[in-house]
């Protein structure tokens, strides 16, 4: 029966080959669109900066050293790149606070939506997605128009006599936070809503029947069941928040750099493309480590629900 075995093996081989061939277009796209450009960034991070932008094809680890260490301009001593650390920490802090803010606002919103009747739910969902129809830049400028010194909030408070001078919100960290929370809120609401919609509210009723308090029901029943949604939402908000460029520039006034501004500086006026590339890769590594840690931790505690 050796022949039958051979036939089977040949068929299997053909099968494998077909599968590779069929997936080739997809793999090619993934390589060209995702991996390829990233490889260029990686290669650039190990080259020497050209005199006025661009790179010279000469290996140099300088860019990577410059990410972490800086040579003092004035006394030539090497030390930790304090400016970079400050900027990294500011970006991370802002992203974490944005994630928490959107969670605090988004969770009740999703709960509210999920507990409406089936018909009205669709309407709420529709309303949540409306901001996505407009460009991010325009939404950010809309926020600017509301919070600026001669904007809607300040004008109203002044006219009502509640304040005597406009409150400076624009160009503060608060302004950036308001803008980011507004822009990224739907990204938090939608995944939480998706898992909340599947939640069997009879379990909640059962909880109440067994004399659980409202808080206990939230903590022991609702939260564990929608946890995957919360995790997905947090990831969806945290990552773009870390790389946010438009919102901090427009609302923060560009006085304090975010990671994205620091990277942009290297490709623009700083003319140090390798350093810009190395910083970009460093950010990706941070995001990856943060994600792994987060997903692991989240997976360990609590029961998984689908």
């Amino acid at each position: 029966m050796a022949t039958a075995e051979e036939v089977a093996k040949a068929a299997e081989r053909r099968d494998v080959r077909d599968r590779w061939l069929l997936s080739a277009p997809a793999l090619l796209v993934i390589f060209l669109a995702a991996t390829g450009p990233l490889l260029i960034v990686l290669v650039y991070s190990f080259l020497t900066p050209g005199s006025y932008g661009d790179v010279k094809w000469q290996f140099s680890p300088e860019a990577w050293i410059a990410v972490f260490l800086e040579r003092d301009i004035f006394d030539d001593t090497l030390s930790i790149a304090a400016a970079h650390v400050t900027i990294f920490l500011r970006s991370i802090k802002l992203s974490v606070v944005t994630t928490i803010a959107t969670l605090v606002l988004g969770f009740p919103t999703a709960y509210f939506m999920a507990t409406r009747s089936e018909k009205t739910r669709d309407l709420w969902l529709f309303l949540i997605t409306i901001p996505f129809w407009t460009n991010l830049l325009i939404r950010t400028f809309a926020v600017l128009q509301i919070i600026r010194n001669e904007g809607i909030i300040n004008t109203m408070l002044l006219k009502l006599g509640i304040i005597s001078a406009p409150i400076q919100i624009l160009y503060t960290d608060t302004a950036i936070l308001i803008g980011m929370a507004y822009v990224y809120l739907p990204l938090m609401v939608l995944p939480i809503y998706a898992s909340m919609e599947k939640l069997d509210f009879r379990l909640v009723e059962a909880g109440y029947d067994l004399y659980a308090t409202r808080f206990q029901v939230l903590r022991r029943i609702i939260f564990p069941m929608v946890k995957p949604g919360v995790i997905a939402g947090s990831i969806l908000v945290f990552i773009p928040a870390l790389g946010a460029y438009v919102t901090p520039s427009v609302l923060g006034g560009g006085k304090n750099m975010m990671l994205s501004n620091l990277i942009e500086l290297q490709f623009g006026q700083g003319r140090n493309w390798p350093l810009g590339s190395a910083l970009s890769i460093a950010v990706m590594i941070i995001v990856m480590v943060a994600l792994l840690a987060y997903v692991r931790n989240a997976g360990k505690s609590g029961v998984r629900h689908g």
Partner: protein, 344 residues
């Protein structure tokens, strides 16, 4: 905008390669945004039966990087004088010899033989300007002809000052303020520059380009700025004044060059010649609100620019003006470090 640029470039490259476009009927201009007078372009198109396309860029570095990659399909670009020597050195521009063109006789003598392009072998002046201090006199009535408004902000303006985040301009100003020379490598001066900048920043409200709108709306009461921008602000609000800092201020000029990879060289040369005509130069100025280097253009200038203090530098302030240069890469590197420290 990048998408648009890429798409335009690709479209143009396609057109050029398939020969669909008649080579003598097209001109592709690559210029700063909101800088090219549509009226003057229309006139050029009508006169030479040429279809002009304009693509925007937002900084010298963007333009340089893109043209250096090649295959842009552009015929003309408008780099600042600090960048012109780099464009020449890198072999990106064509030696069109504007110094021998018919209309060159109109170029003011002080602009006919600049350091950045000796003998005007490559470039034609497009616009001239200065970098100074703009103050809203409703908020501050004291003397404002000093970088001290920015670097040692008076109490009335604290928390209301903006700085246009053009790294080279800001560091140039700070060096002048502490009494140094531009592109200096004197560590003592640079240290003073850094300390001055870092100490000044808490008094600033923002570092933004969008000054015309923000000065108008009152978000800023003072800002470092370009003179043409200041003129637009004053026309909207007469209380806004432009000042020439006594410590020294930067002069700049943008210049039209023809790219080496240009497909429509003849039209590009026609354009270089065309804008040296006094009436056309005035037309360009009327739109971008900066001065030009063409003698005889005065009589075609719009009335609100003829003796505007932003455009016509007062005699008393003239000696303090200094052409900004491109510093050596090592010095540029120090600038970037100071800048990062300032904005961290």
């Amino acid at each position: 905008m990048n998408w648009k640029t890429t798409a335009t470039a690709m479209g143009l490259a396609l057109l050029a390669s398939t020969g669909l476009a008649r080579a003598d009927g097209v001109l592709n201009i690559y210029n700063w945004g909101n800088y090219t007078s549509p009226d003057v372009i229309k006139k050029f198109e009508a006169k030479y039966n040429v279809k002009v396309t304009i693509t925007d860029y937002d900084s010298n570095d963007t333009a340089l990087a893109k043209v250096r990659q090649g295959g842009t399909g552009f015929d003309i670009a408008v780099p600042s004088q600090t960048y012109v020597p780099i464009w020449i050195k890198e072999g990106l521009v064509l030696e069109t010899d504007p110094g021998k063109m018919e209309n060159f006789k109109n170029v003011a003598p002080e602009w006919a033989n600049p350091d950045f392009d000796p003998g005007r072998k490559y470039s034609v002046p497009w616009a001239l300007g200065t970098v100074g201090v703009v103050v809203n006199t409703d908020a501050y009535k004291g003397p404002a002809d000093s970088w001290g408004i920015i670097f040692n902000t008076p109490d009335e303006l604290k928390g209301k000052v903006n700085v246009v985040p053009e790294m080279n301009d800001v560091i140039f100003a700070a060096i002048k303020y502490v009494g140094g020379q531009q592109c200096t490598d004197d560590k003592a001066v640079l240290k003073k520059v850094r300390d001055t900048l870092v100490a000044a920043k808490p008094n600033w409200i923002a570092m933004e380009y969008n000054t015309i709108e923000k000065m108008g709306a009152g978000d800023f009461k003072a800002t470092s700025d370009w003179n043409g921008s200041a003129l637009r602000q004053r026309l909207a609000n007469p209380a806004i004044h432009y000042n020439y800092p006594k410590e020294g201020y930067g002069l700049w000029s943008d210049n039209v060059v023809v790219l080496k990879e240009a497909k429509n060289v003849d039209n590009a040369k026609l354009f270089q010649n065309f804008i040296m005509d006094p009436e056309n130069a005035a037309g360009l100025s009327a739109f971008h609100r900066y001065a030009n280097a063409i003698t005889g253009s005065d009589k075609y200038m719009p009335a609100d620019m003829k003796d505007a203090p932003e455009v016509v530098i007062p005699a008393a302030a003239k000696p303090q003006g200094e052409f900004q240069k491109m510093c050596a890469p090592e010095i540029q590197d120090i600038y970037t470090k100071i800048w990062t420290e300032l904005q961290k």
